[in-house]
């Protein structure tokens, strides 16, 4: 009986996917899952059990999509069949949709292992039915307070999710005290982190979160800060300190938007990683994916070769060629992420030509007060032209004025496509246009570029 229901659920989900693609030309990344779950409420648990090598869940505020894509690529290189929710549809419905897409009408799954990114607030809803083999906890930053609520509440949900893990392993970021406070409570925890003293910044950024010891409530003291509140920390009262990472990045060399290199140190051996993913935040993404891949039996060579070939995609450092100009799109959706993007685009030291596109839809966070927690002061005196776009472009203009930017370098054009065109016109020969959009602004820009055949639609990626 349950098998019949499962097959009916898969059939209904697949049919809805075909209909959606037929009538709406959309990606059908969540609706098939909703339809399938309506037919069989247990479908996530049932389909998950049909993956012979189980599932990996990846969560965290920033870097979920890139980490999941990296891990999928390493596992595919190692010969595994991967089922993944590639388009960032990271609620339970999106994961069911991915499984339904990989399901046959006889109730089988074509694939060995699931690699799913999961919305940080929805984690327990997925761990409970799916019982993942690996759980990857990336980072916790202040993000969308109107939707997620306080950052401590998200950490509490993760604690609840660990209880569903029977026998699984937790891979977590040692450098993030909020994440470590969760990860260290699990008996099978594998921390990763950056071991590179010279990289440290002098002080915590304004937007830093989670600076208080979970046990004592006193501020952690830091001997090194890598980004936001990530670094080497210790509680002066109870002595709780950053766990020593099992997998670490050493000798990190960053080359602005062009990527970077580092030595990946695993318990038994090390390998040189050459990456075209920009910024320190992507070093963390590679570390998270590598630690998970190694835990699943992939080799260091698989990891290194995959990362070297990997190209940023879907707005996360994605390079697009438009009329002979190089355009780099860097998704920026919260203070910690935006600060890293700003560091990346100013690293080269050349005057910046950029587009900043701020929307306030639900997926962006309707509350845009976070713009004032971003260190836009970094851009003062470093911009030749900035075009502000999106629904909240006027507010962004005020933000840049108070950050001390020269008003003559700033233009406001709420329409995304027109703003992009203005940005391209401001380029001198050989310059790169940096586009920094919030989530739905990124989707809007990519959709416009897809219509012109310049990028592939997100669901085809």
């Amino acid at each position: 009986m349950s098998h019949l229901r499962l097959r009916a659920g898969i059939a209904a989900g697949r049919l809805s996917a075909r209909l959606i693609r037929l009538i709406a030309a959309g990606g059908a990344t969540t609706m098939p899952g909703r339809v399938a779950a309506a037919v069989d409420p247990q479908i996530l648990a049932r389909l998950g059990r049909r993956l012979s090598q189980g599932s990996v869940l990846i969560t965290g505020t920033n870097g979920k999509t890139t980490t999941a894509r990296l891990l999928s690529a390493v596992l595919e290189r190692a010969g595994r069949g991967v089922v993944a929710n590639r388009a960032g549809a990271n609620l339970p419905s999106g994961i069911v949709s991915a499984l339904v897409r990989a399901g046959t009408l006889s109730g089988r799954i074509v694939g060995d292992v699931g690699v799913f990114e999961v919305d940080e607030a929805a984690l327990p809803l997925v761990t409970e039915p799916l019982r993942p083999r690996l759980l990857v906890l990336g980072n916790l930053f202040r993000d969308q307070l109107d939707r997620y609520g306080e950052i401590d509440l998200v950490a509490d949900r993760w604690r609840a999710a660990l209880a569903h893990l029977d026998g699984g392993t937790v891979i977590y970021n040692a450098d993030d005290p909020l994440v470590s406070d969760v990860g260290r409570t699990h008996p099978a925890g594998r921390p990763f982190g950056i071991e590179h003293p010279g990289l440290s910044k002098a002080t915590l950024e304004h937007a830093a979160d989670g600076r208080y010891c979970y046990r004592c409530g006193v501020p952690y003291s830091y001997s090194a800060v890598h980004l936001a509140h990530l670094g080497t920390y210790r509680c002066p009262r109870c002595g709780t300190a950053r766990p020593s990472p099992e997998v670490a990045a050493e000798s990190v060399q960053l080359r602005g938007a062009a990527g970077g290199t580092f030595t990946l140190r695993a318990p038994t051996a090390s390998v040189l990683i050459q990456s075209s993913l920009p910024g320190l935040y992507n070093v963390y993404n590679v570390l998270a994916a590598a630690t998970a891949a190694l835990a699943l039996g992939a080799s260091l060579e698989d990891v290194a070769a995959t990362v070297e070939e990997f190209r940023p995609a879907f707005g996360r450092g994605e390079e697009i060629l438009i009329e002979g100009h190089r355009v780099v799109m860097l998704l920026a959706k919260n203070p910690a992420g935006f600060n890293e993007v700003l560091r990346t685009v100013t690293a080269a030291g050349e005057p910046l030509v950029g587009v900043i596109a701020i929307n306030d839809h639900i997926a962006d966070g309707r509350d845009i007060s976070w713009l004032w927690d971003v260190d836009f002061e970094l851009l003062a005196g470093r911009c030749r032209a900035v075009v502000l776009s999106g629904l909240r472009a006027p507010e962004m203009a005020v933000r840049l004025k108070y950050a001390g930017l020269d008003g003559a370098a700033v233009e406001v054009e709420p329409d995304l496509e027109r703003a992009l065109r203005i940005g391209l016109r401001r380029l001198a020969g050989g310059e790169t246009l940096y586009v920094m959009p919030t989530y739905t602004a990124m989707l809007g820009l990519r959709a416009a570029l897809a219509r012109r055949g310049l990028v592939r639609a997100s669901w085809e990626d």
């Binding site: 202040r142 307070l145 109107d146 306080e150 950052i151 401590d152 304004h206 600076r211 208080y212 409530g217 501020p219 309707r366 509350d367 845009i368 007060s369 976070w370 713009l371 004032w372 927690d373 629904l391 909240r392 006027p394 507010e395 203009a397 005020v398 933000r399 004025k401 108070y402 008003g407 406001v412």
Partner: protein, 264 residues
């Protein structure tokens, strides 16, 4: 007139490490930039947990909002002495802006859905009660119209066109605040929840102390209020003050864009 003698704006930012949830530092940036653009010398003093507050050392106090854990720490510190100094300063004519969690702490008490009440400092005559876990938080864009005394006076003071008498911002709070007889509301809700989602009041005013749920942050896109606070703070030590008008086209555009997008 600014520039004739150098005036000094003495700002105190309370608990900047603890209560900084919603871009609150944008309020400080707005106060300091708008004073500096007029040739007014600005000093910003940060006062954190366990540090003594001297009521006569500052003319404009700011306190923002934080998460529950941080708010409990701030409440204890306020009760230990800082709150008394803050009350003295306000009685002496100093200006206070308290936003969201900081606003709640200025009242008599915060009564959570479960657990012990959190005592405030009673600077503003109000009480905040959480209606229970099942009740929705008041989250969303908030537009209020200020009473004539606040909004109206500003137009004369800064001499130029100001953003009008509306304030725009964002609110995100579970607690419902009820005003007592000696607190006046800051304004009347045109869109959003305000103090409690029922009586259409928003915020509270007592002397030159202003409490509100409006973040976003509040001052950058409501420059008339920023100037109102600056002028009131300067008056405490410099007597009658007229602020030179600034080019507020961008600020007004942001204000009006929010009105258009979220107003009725």
């Amino acid at each position: 007139m600014a520039g004739r003698t150098t005036m000094r704006l003495r700002v105190c930012h309370l608990y900047p490490d603890l209560l900084n949830l919603y871009g609150d530092r944008g309020n400080i940036m707005t106060l300091t930039r708008r004073a500096a653009w007029r040739g007014i010398a600005v000093e910003v003093t940060e006062v954190g947990l366990g540090e003594a507050l001297r009521p006569e050392a500052h003319d404009l106090f700011f306190i923002g909002g934080g998460e529950d854990r941080q708010q409990v720490l701030a409440a204890a510190d306020l009760r230990a002495g800082t709150g008394g100094a803050l009350r003295d300063a306000v009685e002496d004519g100093a200006v206070l802006l308290a936003v969201c969690g900081g606003y709640q702490l200025m009242g008599h008490a915060y009564l959570p859905a479960e657990g012990e009440p959190l005592r405030g400092i009673g600077l503003l005559d109000l009480e905040t009660r959480h209606p229970g876990k099942g009740r929705r938080r008041l989250i969303g864009n908030l537009i209020i119209r200020c009473s004539g005394e606040i909004g109206g006076r500003c137009g004369g003071e800064i001499g130029g066109r100001c953003g009008g008498e509306t304030l725009v911002g964002f609110e995100n709070h579970g607690g419902r605040t009820t005003l007592g007889p000696s607190a006046r509301p800051l304004g009347r809700v045109e869109r959003g929840g305000g103090n409690n989602g029922e009586d259409r009041t928003e915020g509270a005013v007592y002397r030159h102390a202003y409490g509100t749920y409006l973040h976003g942050p509040l001052l950058p896109k409501n420059p008339w209020l920023a100037d109102h606070l600056i002028a009131a703070a300067l008056r405490r030590t410099h007597g009658e003050v007229t602020l030179a008008p600034l080019d507020d086209r961008l600020e007004r555009a942001a204000h009006e864009a929010a009105l258009r997008r979220f107003g009725r």
